[in-house]
């Protein structure tokens, strides 16, 4: 078999080259990242937290970060774990999770998703163009996260700062999401 090794494979982000935003909401592409979709029952959460080096949050709409990894609560037994950077082959997150000697499911979704960073004083307004959630700081504080809608597509939203959000979106929906956010950013500046 021909060896298509990691040294010759190059990947570009799904939205590579995209740029947009307005004077109040800036749109940028997040750097490539590793991601896993993690499922584990409540009784075994501690074992996975130890294996991943980040405490999996158990309260709805919360996230936790440690050791360059961020765990986002999506449901009572479901998390999205995002790690900075990306390995050329394999997934460090899957490998780390596999060290936990309890039943769980850790699926590598690094390249299923891509992420758009929305920042600036109009960031929440830009996202609210297509997202029905209350993004006021009292209800959706820094660190809050949720799976939700953006127009016709599903996203996972994480607030990284008072005026900044990470929008995780499936790669095949990403041009739609970027386009809608660009419209939202323009409307937020009106």
């Amino acid at each position: 078999m021909v060896d298509f090794g990691a040294e010759i494979a190059t990947r570009t982000l799904p939205l590579s080259g995209a740029h947009g935003g307005s004077s109040v909401a800036r749109l940028e592409l997040a750097a490539p990242a590793e991601r896993i979709s993690l499922r584990v029952v409540a009784a075994d959460v501690a074992a996975l937290s130890a294996a991943l080096g980040v405490d999996l949050p158990t309260r709805p709409k919360t996230s936790a970060s440690a050791n360059g990894r961020t765990a986002l609560w999506l449901g009572p037994d479901e998390w999205l774990v995002i790690a900075e950077g990306t390995g050329d082959t394999g997934s460090a997150l899957v490998e780390a999770a596999s060290k936990a000697a309890v039943p769980h499911s850790a699926t590598d979704v690094s390249h299923r998703n891509t992420a758009i960073i929305v920042s600036g004083p109009g960031a929440a307004a830009a996202i609210n163009t297509g997202c029905p959630q209350d993004l006021s700081l009292a209800v959706f504080p820094v660190g809050a996260c949720s799976r939700t809608n953006l127009g016709k597509v599903e996203i996972v939203l994480l607030r990284t700062a008072d005026d900044a959000f990470r929008v995780e979106v499936w790669r095949s929906f990403s041009t739609y999401a970027f386009g809608l956010l660009a419209e939202g950013a323009r409307d937020a500046a009106l």
Partner: protein
């Protein structure tokens, strides 16, 4: 926009995040291979489709992904209560029921606006 309280997310969310999932509390027969075709049809296909108070399954599909149960008034569209999947049928709190009935009296029904009664 209709808001629905998700018992897993513990807050109200937009109806856009949810999907209806049919009538609730339909028990699968214990010995399904032993029942007659008529009994199977009753269990599998036939639903009450009640006008007024109904118990339904809903799914927070664009949120936590969970199925849960809801008591809803199909005339006013008002959600009287939601509770976690697996719990037995819950009684409707009296206050929610009274409020729904009061609301129903002012609701325009299809018969009033489109039907023969017009």
């Amino acid at each position: 926009m209709l808001l629905i309280h998700c018992p897993y997310c513990e807050e109200e969310r937009s109806e856009l995040e949810f999907r209806w999932a049919g009538e609730a509390h339909i028990a699968r027969p214990d010995n399904i291979s032993a029942i007659s075709d008529e009994e199977f049809a009753e269990f599998f296909f036939l639903r009450n489709n009640e006008k007024g108070l109904t118990y339904e399954r809903w799914r927070h599909i664009h949120g936590c992904g969970r199925f849960f149960n809801a008591a809803r008034d199909t005339v006013s569209d008002k959600f009287l209560m939601t509770y976690k999947a697996g719990l037995p049928k819950q009684p409707i709190p009296a206050a929610a029921k009274a409020e729904a009935i009061a609301e129903e009296k002012t609701i325009e029904t299809w018969e009033q606006t489109e039907g023969d009664a017009r």
